[in-house]
Symmetry: C2
Subunit: 319 residues, 2 copies
């Protein structure tokens, strides 16, 4: 019997041609996630794209499931997927978009562009005083996955001295000047001019940035979070920003998300908030990467080869 | 008779020690520009720092005048300086600060951070849609002085393809992918994703960005001006931004300056304004460079050697 491939990501004609070519012996359907029926999901042997977890109902037909996202949290919950389903994510596709967004936020803080935008709204031609530079700045990259490495390479290229922080010791990559393990982070926090957090969502990272850790930072430090919002409690962050423990922060992730309209974080002048958009499909390149990963894995499924980006159900991340 | 050296820039004790050492046979006085008297200016054989042009009154005593600024406009007006006075500027000191500010503005536009800041003020967790990347972007650098070159090197390092535009043909520098002369600019404007203008203030650059030239640009183009405000008339810029001839702009310079509170530019959503602060002493490194240039030239004055950064009275810029 012909196998069913269900594609819910917004592919164009060129992408469809590639997918159809790879899955030429299958029945391929393109249905936007918003127009899915439970029947279609239940009949699918392969799904490409994020569908609501409850629609999958541990379907025994689903052999290979390719997520469009890097995160897999809703799908690793026991009972969502059958034990025979191979789950792959799109880790890697978002590296450029997230790293560049983080660099843009870092420079926005360094050059006080958020204060100038605020002043502009009030028609004020007002000097906001001193700025800082990446040249000679000590930049701490918390989490040395591919996004952290990409960010590090750009900042180092602009003249920064980069300290990388990761769980396990390893050789120091070329884009990092100094490598320390997470258990030694408190010894390097006091040296950092910029702290870029790209920590994943694990038991060990929830509430990682405690009051004590903010107290270790320089009063001039800039904190940029594009990892997970729960790495820092909103109240702890607010206190650090209000008390001058750090100079400013920029967060693409918050706790909770979306950030409620009555959260005091919104109106904190020295905090820049973007609504978890550094990933997404905002950069055309990101979507091309997702299609590349999906096509590669679709081919592996057909050929019975090893998949790329298989999700570890223990951690929710790539094995 | 002992010569008089008057220093009006806000030097620290370390700087004073350096200057005193070089000018050990002179009478050195440190007076903030705001506390100057005409007597002190008239008695000075050397001045380091920008003093009001009318205070100089073509003083015959003034042998060497070191400006803290890169621009020299008020001082090249006939009758301000005696013909025997050598005028030097601080060209070079501002390269890093201005180039980095321009990079920060460029990324702010690419990643729509100005829209996110506006949404934040309204407590809105709202996706602002597609963004762009320096990777593969065609970046036009209008004016290839040291600031333009520095900006080009950073953007190229981030993956951009840089087209440099300068008045006279020359060999193509390493940080530039393609070099064209100003008279050919209209042929490359249609290709640019980013136009960075760092044109000096000369007869040929006033109103350089005409309606016709904005019409040649892509509707997705981003325009960044850190050169001189008069390179584009406010009305022409506003029309380009409102009609969708270009996508967005960021200007550290405006016409006139300061921008009047009732200017419609302030409230133009897709325009970011900073109040001519990319230079100034906002980056500590800038001031260190100014002191370096001043010390070097002070030494040249004492030794009777050739000066660095001598101003050409025809152009107002470094010879």
């Amino acid at each position: 019997m012909m196998k069913n491939v269900l594609v819910t990501i917004p592919v164009n004609e060129g992408h469809k041609k590639r997918i159809n070519e790879i899955a030429r012996d299958c029945h391929v359907e393109y249905v936007p996630a918003s127009e899915l029926s439970e029947e279609k999901v239940a009949a699918a042997n392969v799904i490409i794209g994020n569908v609501p977890a409850q629609m999958i109902q541990a379907s025994q037909n689903l052999e290979f499931y390719q997520l469009e996202s890097a995160g897999a949290d809703p799908y690793i919950v026991p009972g969502v997927l059958a034990k025979t389903t191979v789950l792959c994510n799109s880790t890697g596709a978002y590296n450029r978009a997230v790293a560049e967004h983080a660099v843009a936020l870092t420079l926005m803080l360094m050059k006080k562009l958020y204060l100038y935008r605020d002043a502009q709204k009030n028609c004020q031609w007002t000097d906001q005083g001193g700025v800082s530079s990446p040249v000679g700045a000590t930049v701490l990259v918390m989490g040395l996955g591919e996004i952290g490495m990409h960010y590090a390479a750009i900042l180092k290229g602009m003249g920064a001295c980069v300290i990388g922080v990761k769980r396990r010791p390893s050789a120091c990559p070329a884009c990092i000047d100094e490598l320390v393990t997470t258990d030694a982070v408190d010894s390097v926090l006091p040296r950092a001019d910029v702290i870029f957090s790209i920590l994943p969502n694990t038991k060990g990272t929830v509430g990682f940035y405690t009051e004590e850790r903010f107290r270790l930072m320089k009063p001039s430090a800039l904190f940029v979070n594009c990892g997970r919002g729960n790495a820092v409690e909103s109240e702890v962050l607010l206190k650090a920003l209000r008390s001058g423990q750090i100079a400013a922060a920029a967060c693409d992730v918050t706790d909770p998300e979306p950030l409620p309209a009555d959260s005091p974080l919104w109106q904190q002048e020295n905090l820049v908030i973007t609504p978890h958009i550094s990933g997404g499909f905002h950069l055309p390149y990101t979507f091309e990467c997702i299609v590349d990963i999906a096509c590669e894995n679709l081919s592996h499924w057909i050929q019975g080869e090893e998949y790329r980006n298989v999700v570890d159900f223990e951690t929710g991340y790539k094995k």
